[in-house]
């Protein structure tokens, strides 16, 4: 029997949250080791487990995978969430890269000067409403299917749901002009594995707070 994947990261969303979402959606149980001290991080480095001295780190199938996109691509392929052919993969890559850009913007804000917070979040909401969400609304409208690519659930759908929920935390009415995305959100949220992940007690992490920022700064020394 296969060992469970093991995730090494802080106890918070950051760059690991998309990985948690993908594993959860695929119905894959995973373990987590949370980085809380500098010593833990230095031990991972000394043990040679961090290729570029960075987390996220996921130990899976005998590999020590770092780099968020490398991890996500591997999982998407392994759990059949990467489309059926090269062209579908290209579309999934395009869509996920866009939403990942947006989510990394959100994850970075707590680490920027606090006086810029309002402005940064406002820019993110604006980008979501004018650059990203209209694109996905149109994709759904044009093909009329339930999922973004190839009429079946893929990494692109899971990540778009994650992005929608994150932006809604910043601006609850952000989907008001996007009826198809509203329906999409409901539909994907009701998929059993995802519904479970959305419930309290799952491994989903809350938005970053001051404590989280402090731990990250202390561990990574910046």
């Amino acid at each position: 029997m296969e060992a469970k994947p093991k995730l090494y990261y802080f106890c918070g969303r950051g760059r690991m949250e998309s990985v948690r979402w993908l594993l959860a959606a695929a119905g894959v149980e995973f373990e987590e080791e949370f980085l809380e001290t500098r010593e833990q991080y230095e031990k991972l480095q000394k043990d040679g487990r961090l290729l570029f001295d960075q987390v996220p780190l996921v130990e899976i199938d005998g590999m020590r995978l770092t780099q968020t996109r490398a991890i996500l691509s591997y999982l998407a392929a392994k759990y059949n969430l990467y489309g059926k052919d090269l062209k579908e993969r290209a579309r999934i890559d395009m869509y996920t890269d866009g939403t990942l850009d947006l989510m990394i913007m959100i994850a970075s804000v707590p680490f920027k000067p606090p006086e810029e917070k309002e402005e940064n979040y406002a820019l993110i909401v604006k980008r979501a409403k004018t650059r990203y969400f209209p694109v996905f609304e149109k994709i759904l409208k044009d093909h009329g299917e339930a999922f973004l690519v190839g009429n079946q659930l893929s990494w692109a759908d899971i990540q778009l749901l994650e992005a929608i929920l994150m932006v809604e935390e910043l601006s609850p009415s952000v989907l008001s002009d996007f009826p198809l995305l509203q329906a999409f959100k409901t539909r994907i949220s009701n998929i059993p594995t995802i519904k479970k992940f959305l419930q309290p007690g799952s491994q989903r992490k809350p938005p970053p707070d001051d404590h989280y920022v402090k731990v990250v700064r202390d561990v990574l020394k910046f």
Partner: protein
């Protein structure tokens, strides 16, 4: 016969250069349409050719691909430069992401305010030596093979060669402590397609000068 891929970008390295490298290494001829004024970019946007309003965009096989990584992934798969299986792909992706991170740091130096430049350069040199080149030297030393992954040429060798050339442009002494990397660089530079691309008159782009940065600023408004 399928038409040649068409690359849409401004006439400079930017985020298109790694794509030019990969196509060249794969021996694929390509055309370029340069964005030379704000109106060029506006037209592409109005014509709905840029999914997220951004370049790079590559017209290939009936698609208009955007997002650098999506484009690279597609080309690498199509021309069999992406390893032989999912695990090799994971390694290639992991290494590639590190290369992209360092390349972006170097590429953004031109935008750095003069008073911060020295500190930035110092950080880049430190990361180059102690994080990235160190990691790749270790990979090569570890398996003793001629290429980074799977004992044959893959995309990541090309990405690394490109990076090594930028590192040299920054400070040629940075490569000195890394014999495996120097040997890899020589080896790759001798491959016929690569050798051709390295010669004057190819579609390889030079570093940006101040005038080009000004022009890019006007077009892309940053």
């Amino acid at each position: 016969m399928a038409g040649k891929p068409v690359l849409h970008h401004f006439n400079g390295r930017g985020r298109m250069e790694c794509i030019r490298w990969l196509l060249a290494a794969a021996g694929v001829e390509f055309e370029e349409k340069f964005i030379e004024c704000p109106e060029d970019l506006e037209k592409l946007r109005k014509d709905g050719k840029l999914m997220f309003e951004q370049v790079p965009m590559v017209e290939i096989d009936g698609m208009m691909l955007v997002q650098t990584r999506a484009i690279l992934n597609y080309i690498a798969t199509k021309y069999d430069l992406y390893g032989k299986d999912v695990k090799e792909r994971a390694l290639i992706d992991m290494y590639t992401e590190g290369i992209i991170d360092l390349s972006e740091m170097i590429g953004q130096l031109v935008l750095c305010p003069p008073d911060q430049k020295e500190a930035k350069i110092s950080l880049i040199k430190d990361r180059t030596k102690n994080r990235y080149l160190h990691a790749f030297e270790k990979v090569l030393k570890g398996h003793g093979q001629d290429y980074l992954v799977g004992n044959r040429l893959t995309r990541v060798d090309i990405h690394l060669l490109e990076l090594l050339l930028y590192v040299e442009e920054l400070d040629s002494s940075l490569l000195a402590p890394f014999p495996q990397l120097k040997a890899l660089k020589s080896r790759l530079s001798s491959l016929p397609n690569v050798k051709k691309f390295l010669q004057p008159g190819s579609q390889r782009k030079p570093p940006l000068d101040a005038k080009q940065i000004e022009e890019a600023r006007k077009i892309f408004k940053f």
